[in-house]
């Protein structure tokens, strides 16, 4: 069994960790209004295959998979991967990003399902 002093120390450490987590959260930014964009997956292709979004702003990308088979939206450049089961939709938050081109692909059909996000 722990002594009262040890219990107090553990309690103090839990409080410290909790405070640290709260500070970590407070240190982050405030969520702003997020514009929405859509991409469809049909016959293992992305429509549109090029998506233009504003620089310096977070966006909400709704990906609708109209195929019966699953697809994975994947992009190392965007630091996102999202599996979308057949006949369903998934949401991916992107950005804020600097201007440029960020390729993405469908991991289950990488030869056909390709596209890019153009940030401008």
């Amino acid at each position: 069994m722990r002594s009262p002093q040890q219990v107090a120390t553990i309690s103090s450490r839990i409080s410290r960790v909790t405070a640290m987590l709260m500070l970590f959260l407070i240190a982050t930014d405030v969520v702003a209004q997020t514009p929405e964009f859509e991409i469809e997956i049909r016959e293992h292709l992305f429509y549109p295959s090029e998506l233009r979004i504003p620089a310096g702003q977070k966006i909400k990308l709704i990906i609708r998979n109209l195929d019966a088979t699953p697809e994975e939206f994947e992009s190392y450049e965007l630091n996102r991967e999202k599996v979308i089961v057949g006949n369903s939709q998934g949401i991916v938050f992107i950005g804020p990003l600097k201007a440029g081109e960020y390729p993405f692909f469908g991991e289950f059909n990488p030869k056909t399902a390709q596209g890019k996000v153009i940030v401008e």
């Binding site: 553990i10 959260l25 996102r80 991916v92």
Partner: protein, 241 residues
């Protein structure tokens, strides 16, 4: 940067409390893995982790730990994995030590909030002794440009007839550069009741056919206190399919 300062403050403060718990239990090593708070549906994986430690105390040197796991996502937010944990002591052979069931829950969508949040729950049962551990941890990750900071903070309850029932806290953190998909260098820090360790790590991803991927991590963790082994080498390989 602010999060890094907070972690460093924790290191300093918790270092003082270590003095109250100077007796390291035999063969204890808190170096593990830093978990990210993400789950993908339809994902299955086989995992092998190896830890090898050396120390100037011969009883704490040349110790090998291996951990084999199979995991699968239950849905788009929950991933479950079953592990077998084995250990080889100096001059001995590798022996199965414990079984472990682990659940990882993704709490927020990646990028939706300033930080991404998840929850880890673990239940471990020793094979030859009446010792069990129930642990839970908050998983937090945030991206700053090409850098990713990940923090795991948890509480563990150890119970059974062969151990004093007690709560313990643990923390692990990783600061990683997204250099390229196949190679991401970083630094990891581990802290628990007895362990304070920090060191460089390399991680990466190698793609196979279709959705098959090999994820690997390796690192060298060095001690920040007297109750952490002199060197802990760690290697992790995950085959995702």
């Amino acid at each position: 940067m602010r999060a890094t300062i907070l972690v460093l403050q924790f290191v300093g403060l918790s270092g003082m409390s270590t003095m109250l718990f100077a007796d390291n239990p035999v063969h204890h090593n808190g170096v593990s893995k830093v978990y990210e708070p993400y789950v993908l549906p339809l994902e299955r994986e086989l995992e092998l982790r190896t830890y090898y430690q050396t120390d100037d105390d011969p009883n704490e040197s040349d110790i090998l730990r291996q951990r084999i796991g199979y995991g699968a996502s239950i849905n788009e937010k929950v991933f479950a994995e079953l592990y077998l944990n084995a250990m080889k002591l100096p001059g001995g052979s590798l022996r199965l030590e414990s079984y472990e069931l682990e659940g990882r829950i993704q709490l927020t969508e990646q990028g939706e909030y300033p930080a991404d949040w998840g929850l880890l729950i673990e239940l471990e049962r020793e094979r030859s002794e009446s010792i069990s551990e129930l642990a839970t941890a908050i998983l937090v990750s945030r991206q700053w440009g090409d850098w990713i900071g990940t923090l795991n903070v948890g509480v563990e309850y150890e119970f059974g007839s062969d151990v004093d029932n007690e709560f313990e806290t643990f923390l692990s953190a990783q600061w990683r550069l997204r250099y390229r998909e196949s190679l991401e260098p970083g630094v990891e820090f581990y802290a628990d009741e007895y362990t304070r360790g920090v060191g460089p790590v390399l991680t990466g991803l190698i793609r196979g056919q279709g959705n098959r991927k090999w994820h690997w991590e390796t690192g060298v963790i060095l001690p920040l206190n007297a109750t952490t082994p002199d060197v802990t080498y760690r290697l992790l390989v995950e085959f995702e399919f």
